[in-house]
Structures are given as structure tokens and as C-alpha cells.
Amino acid sequence: MSSAALMKRRWRALLTTLWKQRVSYLFIAPFMICFTVFIVIPIVLANALAFFSFDAISMPTFIGWDNFLAILTQDRIFLQNAIPNTFKFAIIVGPLGYSLSFLLAWLIHQLPKRIRDIFTIAIYTPSLSAGVAMSVVWLVIFNGDRIGYLNNFLLSIGVVQDPQYFMNIMIIVSLWASMGVGFLAMLAGLQTVNTELYEAGAIDGISNRLQEIYYITIPAIKPQMLFGAIMSVVGTLKAGAIGALLAGSPITPQYSGHLITNHIEDYAFIRYELGYASALSVVLLLLVYGSSRLSFRLFSSKGEE
């Protein structure tokens, strides 16, 4: 048989299989369409736009790597404020917030079943309220004059208002609201751990709770911890919006709470340098992707069994 005829037959066989499986494609079609339109295309577009100079009115002009060069060499606010701020914010809210939610989930799990629910709700509720709803509270508590609750207290011990506290406030508020889906996933994961494992561990010589966590709990709920870690990476990004809410504009006082997300917003929706803003978002996408990969490295249970 000639190879052309063979190819033709293979082709036909493939088409028949695809046609047989058409129901499956129908099932995933609505999601895949939304997914492509609102996630894939924007990411591809962002990557493409990053190589153009585009002001939303005239046609984009191709400028190669210039945007990236400008980010690395000319953008002082990016290098002096956005990068250090983002790292400080991300390190504290990300890994620290994540460890905190694991610790809290574990502590709650140590309590008798009946009272677990109360604590779960108490810890989870703040993440529900994140965003707009609470900004009035933060404004009142952290208000600059003596009406502000915290300020009232700080004034009485002699600390004064300073833009450098802005970042700390952002971090506190974000940490407060960071016990979200990941926290629930880990808590639920803890409840699935087979209790016989702990008994077996005790016989094998595990003597304290720290060893128990390290040798039994963490390996057992690794998959849930990975899910939690990824939710935490994404959540940290979202939490960056808190600065804009507190300050009332994307530009925080003296760039004290300026994160990469704010920097993008600044260039995109205030200065209309869309190409440059896209280049910035490519940098951010890479950072996020890198941190997620790192979480996969740390928590993946592939190839262990």
C-alpha cells in the first residue's frame, strides 16, 4: 500500500473518532470558548503588545525590545518603588500568609469536632469581606487624624503619621484577609488524613507533634497544600489592589505602597501607554508563573509513590 493511501486512511480514522467523541467536545465547548476568549487571547495579546508602542488611538508601531529595555534601564519608579515593594509585600503576604493559614488550619483540626466550625467561620470570614466592603473600616481605623482608632493610640505613644507605614498597613490588611480558599482546602484535607497513620507513627517512634506534622501530616495532604499554594500566589496578586482602595487612587502617597499591579494600572489607564504597560504585565506574568512553578516543585507528589 502506498504511503499516501495510508495517510488518507489514518486521517479518516482520526476524523471518525473525533466525530464519535463529538458529545465530549460539546460538553467542554462552553468552557473552552470562554477560556480562550477571556484568558488565552488576552495573554497572547499582552505578549504581542509588549513589543509595540501603542497609545490606544493611533496604530501600534513595532519597536522590538525597547519596552523591556526601558523597564530595566529608565523606569526609576519601577526599580526603586514597585520592585522592592512588590517583593516585600509578596514575601510576607505569600509564604508567610500561607504558612499561617496552614498553621491555623492545623490548630483548628486539633480541637474537638463540635467547636471546629465556629473557628473556621471566624478565620474564614475576613477573606469574604475583602475589597470594597471593608475599605470604610480601614479608613476609619488607620485615619491620619486623631479620629483614627490606631492613630489615636499611636499618637498617645508618640508615633506620627508617615507614608512608610502605608506598606505595613497594606500587609496587615492583606494578611487579615488571606485565609481564603486555600485555608479551607487545607482544613478539609486534614480531615481526610487516615487517623491510623498517626497511631502507626506513634508506634514507630514519633514522639511529638512537630515530628507528626513533618513525617505524616504534610506528606498526606501535599496535594491540598499545592492547591492552597497556587491559590495563595494568585490571591497575593489580587490583594495588591488594597493599596488603591486605601489611598483612593492607583498612586499611593509617595509611591509608598506602589506594587507592579499599580504600576501597570498607572501606565495603562492614566498614561495610556498600553504597549509599555503590556511589557510590564508580561514581567508580572513571568513572576507569577515562576512562583507557581516553585510551588509545584515544593509540593508536587508526583514520582514519590
Binding site: 465530549s24 475589597g131 470594597v132 470604610v136 508506634i203
Partner: protein, 305 residues
């Protein structure tokens, strides 16, 4: 490198177990008391801002700006809520319009997300077709996606779709919810294949199997992604700020944001803003309280392997 295995003769194991479990009991008691005190303190601390906004919303003007500031309200009134309704009745767009927009778009989003995600999840979990692994791995990668990073291209895509300034713009972008598909797929994998096979032998088509068998079994997961969709839609301001221009197309969170923006020194608006914030937050809490069990049940399967 776990703790060393100590070989214990079978006769001793029984005794040792009893002793161990006794020791465990004593240790747990002390530890649990400790954990509970710590958690209670933390829970109270975490709930403070929420208790505060509840109080703030019911404070009369005379108490809102007392110096030194007070936490509890002495004479609760509904004055702020009345103001919220009255103030906005005199405005061009009444409060009820924002509320209507929010309720409508949130309901459609929740229903749409459940439908779209569970269909895709069913195909991923229970059907065999070419490209299944590939498409699902896209979904996993998309878990790390945060729309904030690519706001500009998203804007361009939506502008070119022609759904700018319509109700659809509050719904469609939120339907691409990889987290929902992922959680649902993990849950659907629990359904025994025999059940589906049996139904098919009885002559049921895929869609019937999906609606009559798969969905009813997965009600906890349905509730969970419903809640996540609700939280995502009810309090987001992104679509109102970026994708609509007509005031009558914007939603309640946007209205709340206009009330709280630059509020720091605003005397009149604070109580009203607190009332609006409370209205944003309470539905979130109520929905979670209603379905808490199911959410935790679903989250137990959230692991990424």
C-alpha cells in the same frame, strides 16, 4: 529518613498502645486548652473589624465622630440605611437600580458558572476523547491566572466583542473559571463508573446521564462553585469600572466604592458608606454559612497531584 524503626515484640505492643493512648489524652488536653485559648483570642481579633463595621453602620451621627473614638454604639439607629436609600433616590440613578443590576448579574453568573464548569468537568472526569489531558492541563495552568495581570488586552478583547456597556459584560468574563472546573472535576471522579455504565445500558444519552445522575451526586461541589462564583461576582468592581460607561449599567460594589473613595475626611458619608459596605458583606457571609459543610466536603478533594 523517618524516626528509627524500633522492633517491639508483639506482646508488648498492646500494653504500649494503651500507655501511648493514655499519654496522648493527657497531652491533648493541655495542648487543646492552649490551642483553644490562642485561637479564641485570634478569632476575636480577626472578627473585630467586622463587628466594627456592623456597629458603625448603626451609629447615629452624634456617635460617629466622638473623640476619643468609640467602638460600640450606644443608640443604634437605622438612620444610615435610610440615608443610603434617600440620598440615592435624589441622585440620577437610584440605589435600587445598582442593587437590581448586582442581583441580576450575580444570579446569572452563578447559574452560568455552575452550568459551564460542571459540563466541562463531567467531560474531563468521565469521558475519553482526544486532547482530554491537554485541555485539562491548560485548565491547571490557568489556575494561576489572575485577570489583573492582563487588564489591557482583556479590555481590547471585550471592546471588540461588542459587549461593552451591556449586562453580558458583567457575566461572560467571569464564566471562564478554571477553579470551578478543577474542583468539580476532582469531585466528579468519585462517581463510580458502573453507575454511569448502567444508565447508558438502560438507554440514557450523555446529557441525561449528566443531568440526572452526575449533577445530583455532585451537589456539594455544585454548591461550592456556586459560592465561589457568587463571591467573585457580588463584590467585584472591575467590570463596572472598566467595561461599562453608562451609570445605569454599573453594579452595587461600584456604587459602594464611589461612597468610600476619598472618604478619610468626609464627615457626612461615613455612616452611609458603612451601611453600604455591610450590605455588600452580609450576603457573602450568609451564603457561606448555609453551605459551609458542602464547601469543606468539596475542598477535601481539591488536591493537585
Amino acid at each position: 529518613m523517618g524516626p528509627k524503626l524500633v522492633h517491639i515484640p508483639a506482646s508488648k505492643v498492646g500494653k504500649r498502645r494503651i500507655r501511648l493512648s493514655l499519654a496522648r489524652w493527657k497531652k491533648i488536653d493541655l495542648f487543646q486548652v492552649f490551642a483553644m485559648t490562642g485561637l479564641t483570642l485570634l478569632a476575636i481579633f480577626m472578627l473585630l473589624p467586622i463587628v466594627f463595621i456592623m456597629n458603625h453602620a448603626f451609629k447615629p451621627i452624634s456617635e460617629l465622630f466622638l473623640y476619643p473614638p468609640r467602638f460600640w454604639t450606644n443608640q443604634p439607629t437605622l438612620f444610615n440605611f435610610q440615608q443610603l436609600l434617600l440620598k440615592s433616590q435624589t441622585a440620577v440613578i437610584p440605589f435600587s437600580r445598582y442593587l437590581f443590576n448586582s442581583v441580576l448579574t450575580t444570579l446569572v453568573t452563578v447559574a452560568g458558572t455552575i452550568f459551564v464548569s460542571s459540563m466541562a468537568a463531567y467531560a474531563f472526569a468521565k469521558q475519553r476523547f482526544i486532547g482530554r489531558e491537554l485541555f485539562f492541563s491548560f485548565t491547571i495552568v490557568a489556575l494561576m491566572f489572575a485577570p489583573e495581570t492582563v487588564a489591557i488586552p482583556r479590555y481590547l478583547v471585550i471592546a471588540n466583542l461588542g459587549i461593552m456597556d451591556t449586562f453580558l459584560v458583567h457575566v461572560l468574563p467571569l464564566l471562564a473559571a478554571p477553579v470551578g472546573v478543577f474542583l468539580m472535576k476532582q469531585f466528579m471522579e468519585q462517581i463510580p463508573n458502573e453507575l454511569i455504565e448502567a444508565a447508558k445500558i438502560d438507554g440514557a444519552k450523555e446529557f441525561v446521564v449528566f443531568f440526572r445522575i452526575a449533577l445530583p451526586i455532585c451537589m456539594p461541589a455544585v454548591a461550592t462553585i456556586g459560592i465561589l462564583a457568587f463571591q467573585g461576582s457580588w463584590s467585584q468592581t472591575e467590570t463596572s469600572v472598566l467595561f461599562t460607561q453608562t451609570e445605569s449599567m454599573k453594579t452595587l460594589p461600584y456604587f459602594t466604592m464611589t461612597l468610600t473613595n476619598g472618604l478619610a475626611n468626609n464627615v457626612v458619608g461615613q455612616g452611609v458608606a458603612a451601611a453600604a459596605g455591610l450590605m455588600m458583606f452580609v450576603p457573602n457571609l450568609v451564603v457561606f454559612l448555609l453551605f459551609q459543610r458542602r464547601v469543606l466536603n468539596t475542598m477535601a478533594h481539591s488536591g493537585i497531584k
